[in-house]
Symmetry: C2
Subunit: 168 residues, 2 copies
């Protein structure tokens, strides 16, 4: 099994298939570890990762519309709606008719929604903080640079703005 000839930038990076494979596997294990603890918290509430994602992004951009959330999450409206309905019924998310465009629904976290959001994001931030602290500032910079390059290709402008922390 021969590797293909290396391009110039690959030569500079010494990117062997072995190293790439290791990166791939690390992504798998890191992502799993990364979601493990929030998953456990959610379970006690009878929720899943889909609920977490909805809560997270509603907390991130209070007042966002359902369509915006659909764009961010990349799932079907039926799929999102099921989760959203639960969260609204359970009083974690407030769905208000839009003032400018009354077809739209603007989504907000209620007080208890905020509480759960905080519990989940505290857990995840703590893990991230520990990894960052163990790896050091330079590594963190590199980590972010690679992730950004990995995300770049096909993500919507909306998501790009979200990651940049832009106001909408």
């Amino acid at each position: 099994m021969q590797n293909a000839p290396l391009s110039r930038s690959e030569q500079l990076l010494f990117l062997t298939d072995e190293q790439l494979r290791q990166g791939i596997e690390m992504m798998f294990f890191a992502y799993r570890g990364f979601t493990a603890y929030p998953d456990k918290i959610l379970e006690t509430y009878g929720y899943g990762r889909a609920h977490h994602r909805a809560i997270h992004f509603v907390g991130r951009k209070p007042g966002l519309t359902v369509n915006t959330l659909l764009d961010i999450l990349g799932v079907t409206k039926q799929s999102l709606n099921r989760v959203l309905r639960q969260l609204v019924n359970d009083g974690l998310i407030d769905s208000r008719v839009g003032t400018k465009d009354r077809r739209q629904r603007n989504l907000y976290l209620t007080e208890s929604g905020l509480a759960l959001e905080k519990e989940l994001s505290d857990a995840q931030r703590q893990r991230m903080r520990k990894a960052y602290a163990a790896a050091g500032p330079n590594a963190v910079q590199g980590f972010r640079t690679v992730l950004a390059a990995m995300i770049e290709p096909e993500v919507s402008t909306l998501v790009r703005d979200l990651l940049r922390g832009a106001e909408t």
Copy 2:
């Protein structure tokens, strides 16, 4: 909403909640983008991500036992068995009775299994290669350091060895 006082290493890193949050979201989008193309390939074969994982790790450690694979994947044997049965029936994986311990099954990719494994990992390596090339060597080193720190906490020795590229 005040941030908790920063520890010494956090002060050195300037780890604001905002930056951590950004890291968290990047993990989400990066992982999604990372699995998107393999998912599309798998769909044409009628397989899912679970099949991909099985094929990947069998390709990675030819002859591994079912128990080892269970440890790596962290799912139940029933869940794995469903997927494995399909792959064996479809002739992508060969399940051979162990020679030392005849209770065990040693798993190998067949020729067509190897072909699919290559197709999938080529796709993923290409994405990883592009991100690495765009980010540069220093960033790559940092990326790996942070991911390693993120994985560290609770992973089994087996997985740690796997990532180190150890022979078993």
